[in-house]
């Protein structure tokens, strides 16, 4: 029978493209013959903006890259600048940084799992995930005054110390979260329909995944025992006890399970951080120390280097963000503004594998595969 190919344009405005992404699909009935991804609908020129901002002014812009998990973006940037300027960060600041990053990892995975299930048609998980996310966001609000775009990290430390009542509330959150994760698992993990939709869908082998430059839960779901927190330990991760969650199947279900396991591991890390939280200053003073006003509190506000000039040089520094490897390549020419900042965003590189993953699958599988990769368009388009 003579059949015609169907060209379908999914997006830029479509319920399941997690923002403004456009798939151009060449379809044979329901089967995808070719998938082309069109990007750039959220391109804000962050890298160009960076050339016009001072090093400090760029911190709020890093929030807007991956707005679901802004703390790791913040941290990746300040870490790169600290490496460039060779600043030693006080221990308490590092503890607080890791604490907020792990909390943000939980938040990110809640959103990732929630939106994955939402795309599959089960809206309940989204709401349950947002219930816990709200508690985490309230913690962030207590800490830095913002709920999503924190602008909390500072070069050499963090902006403010932990407020009173933060630790008890965090403990409460951890307790609560344990029970809720059990609920999620009961709802989803063995659901036959979920398994039908996820198992064996969009499988990618370890070699392929590495070749595509995929990172994060996506790569760990393919059986690569990798985690930058382990491979290139930064901050205080060498002192912490945690397990790298790996699944060998490489399908959508494995990626989902890795995320659930990582939430557990993050809770484990949070507990260790609470128990060992040291007392020290929260911002480095050795290089850019300013004598505080008498009686002023010991915060970033009083130790704020208003003009920050790192030495000329180049640095590439990367961290394990919730979505994968987040790197900042910073070129400094010794002035107050960076000469060039290149952002290696995990979503961008993970998304590049989608056309390969979904070839020969159906539209619902495209949705499932895309959801399981966990992409934030702010991070893709920058």
């Amino acid at each position: 029978m003579e059949t015609e190919e169907l060209l379908i344009n999914m997006g830029p405005v479509h319920p399941s493209t997690h923002g403004v992404l456009r798939f151009k699909l060449r379809m044979d009935g329901e089967i995808i013959k070719e998938c082309t991804i069109v990007l750039g609908y959220l391109h804000r020129g962050t890298e160009k903006l960076a050339e016009m901002k001072t090093y400090l002014q760029f911190i709020p812009y890093t929030d807007r890259l991956d707005y679901v998990s802004a703390m790791p973006s913040n941290y990746a940037y300040v870490k790169a600048v600290e490496e460039l300027a060779d600043i030693e960060v006080p221990l308490r600041a590092e503890y607080i940084r890791v604490l907020v990053m792990e909390l943000n990892r939980i938040v990110n995975h809640l959103v990732a799992i929630g939106s994955l299930l939402m795309d599959l048609g089960a809206s309940t998980m989204m709401m349950w995930g947002f219930r816990e996310r709200e508690k985490a966001l309230q913690l962030f609000e207590m800490l830095c005054g913002a709920r999503m775009t924190f602008s909390y990290m500072r070069i050499g430390g963090v902006r403010e110390d932990l407020p009173d009542g933060f630790i008890p509330k965090l403990k409460e959150f951890i307790e609560d979260m344990e029970k809720r994760i059990a609920d999620y698992e009961q709802l989803i993990n063995n659901n036959e329909i979920f398994l039908m939709r996820m198992k064996g869908i969009a499988t990618i082998s370890a070699e392929e995944a590495i070749n595509y430059g995929m990172t994060g839960p996506t790569l760990r779901g393919s059986g690569v025992n990798y985690d930058i927190r382990r491979l290139e330990p930064y901050s205080i991760y060498p002192d912490l006890d945690f397990k790298v969650c790996v699944r060998s199947e490489g399908d959508s279900y494995a990626r989902y399970i890795v995320r659930i396991d990582e939430m557990r591991e993050s809770l484990h890390i949070l507990r260790q951080l609470i128990d060992n939280m040291p007392e020290s200053s929260i911002i480095a003073t050795q290089k850019y120390g300013i004598i505080p006003m008498t009686g002023a509190p010991y915060t970033a506000q009083t130790y704020f280097p208003r003009i920050f000039t790192p030495p000329a040089g180049e640095v590439y520094s990367r961290i394990e963000a919730p979505k994968g490897e987040l790197g900042f390549y910073i070129v400094s020419d010794g002035t107050t503004k960076p000469y060039r900042i290149k952002i290696r965003s995990p979503s961008f590189c993970n998304l590049a594998a989608i056309p390969q993953l979904v070839r020969g699958l159906k539209i619902p599988d495209l949705i499932a595969a895309f959801g399981s990769i966990d992409v934030v368009l702010g991070d893709v388009d920058r």
Binding site: L6, L7, E30, M118, G121, A122, T124, F194, I363, P364
Partner: protein, 370 residues
């Protein structure tokens, strides 16, 4: 009094009530003078149908509210709370909003078919209620082929869905319509086969006969509902009817995360409302049919001093709402299937199982066990 077993439908019930009050003869004579006694019958039946449709529409509006409340409860939310007590008037406001909306017809759509499709969906969704027994003698017409009628009428909606999808001139609509038709066709077969297994027991396609056959008790306690005789048939029928309804986990025709809104992507305003109402009317009807076939219809313990018409209606509604709640509850728990998986299950599992079930039912009846 008007509790006799001779009444088979609501028309006779009305006639009996009017007779009991003592006004029926006068009215009848009034019409008789002009030689138009049949006009009276038409009049009464018309009023009954109007009452039925009004009841269905109110129920449908209530169902939209209920759906939102059940979803909200599962999702630790409140749901609509502002309009009316606990948001009960929300459907009314939604209706007003939808009527007030601009009725957009896409430039390249097939205007006639595009306008016609919502009506073709809506009318069968109401007609399906004609042979459904809401209670003892609360039935518009006890058709001898009631079950066949229901299956036939519900088979009209795929045509309208296809019309809507085709006329919209939108690829998403077309895909949604194609899916809907494929799904409806493959699930009507297990649906019908599961229903026929019940018919084997009763020997009649009439819904009233089916309900009456379930009136007895085993050992005086366990009601003789067909769910206990036909557990597999019940599960098959329930799954097939949820698939026919196109609700999660089988909502391919409108799967919003894939096809935006499926076949009614391009519809707005009142036309959209008609699809929406038809969907919920269908839900109510199908739940009623499930109750009629497997859950004993309006049967229930007799309460003295209350007319059996009222108690039976209450029993029927309680059971129907239980089934509706189940579908809503299921909707909040499971993700959506994939269309090819659905068709696989339909043809490779449901149809063989339904045939097997039919065979077992036949043996049971032939052996005289029941």
């Amino acid at each position: 009094m008007w509790t006799g077993d001779t009444m088979t439908n609501a028309y006779e019930l009305i006639v009996n009530i009017l007779t009991a009050i003592g006004v029926y003869d006068q009215i009848y004579n009034l019409f008789e003078i002009f030689g138009m006694a049949y006009v009276l019958k038409i009049l009464i039946v018309s009023v009954l149908i109007a009452v039925l449709f009004a009841f269905v529409l109110v129920t449908v509006m209530f169902l939209t509210w209920m759906e939102r409340k059940v979803v909200a409860l599962v999702q630790v939310r409140y749901g609509p709370m502002v309009t009316g007590p606990r948001g009960l008037l929300q459907p009314v406001m939604d209706g007003i909003k939808l009527i007030g909306k601009e009725d957009i017809i896409p430039a390249k759509a097939d205007r006639w078919i595009f306008t016609l499709a919502p009506f073709i969906v809506f009318v069968p969704a109401l007609l399906i209620f004609i042979p459904i027994p809401f209670g003892n003698s609360l039935i518009i017409s006890d058709l001898r082929v009631g079950l066949l009628y229901i299956i036939a009428i519900s088979a009209v909606s795929p045509i309208a869905v296809l019309l809507a999808g085709w006329a919209s001139n939108n690829k998403y609509s077309l895909l949604g319509a194609m899916r809907a038709v494929a799904q409806d066709i493959s699930y009507t077969i297990p649906l019908a086969l599961a229903a026929i297994a019940v018919v084997i027991f009763t020997g009649s396609l009439s819904t009233v006969d089916i309900v009456n056959a379930q009136g007895d008790y085993w050992f005086g306690i366990i009601p003789k509902w067909f769910i206990f005789l036909q557990p597999i048939g019940f599960v098959l029928f329930l799954i097939a009817s949820i698939a026919e309804l196109g609700r999660i986990p089988f909502d391919f025709q409108e799967s919003e995360s894939e096809l935006v809104a499926g076949f009614f992507t391009e519809y707005s305003g009142m036309k959209f409302a008609m699809f929406f109402l038809a969907e919920y009317a269908h839900l109510f009807a199908v739940s009623g049919i499930v109750v009629t076939l497997f859950l004993g219809g309006w049967n229930g313990p007799v309460i003295p001093f209350i007319p059996v018409q009222i108690t039976s209606l209450v029993y029927f509604l309680i059971k129907t709402y239980a089934v509706i709640f189940f579908t809503m509850w299921l909707r909040d728990t499971v993700p959506r299937m994939r269309i090819d998986q659905l068709l696989n299950i339909g043809w490779k599992i449901m149809v063989p199982l339904a045939l097997l079930n039919l065979l077992v039912a036949g043996f049971l009846v032939t052996a005289g066990v029941i």
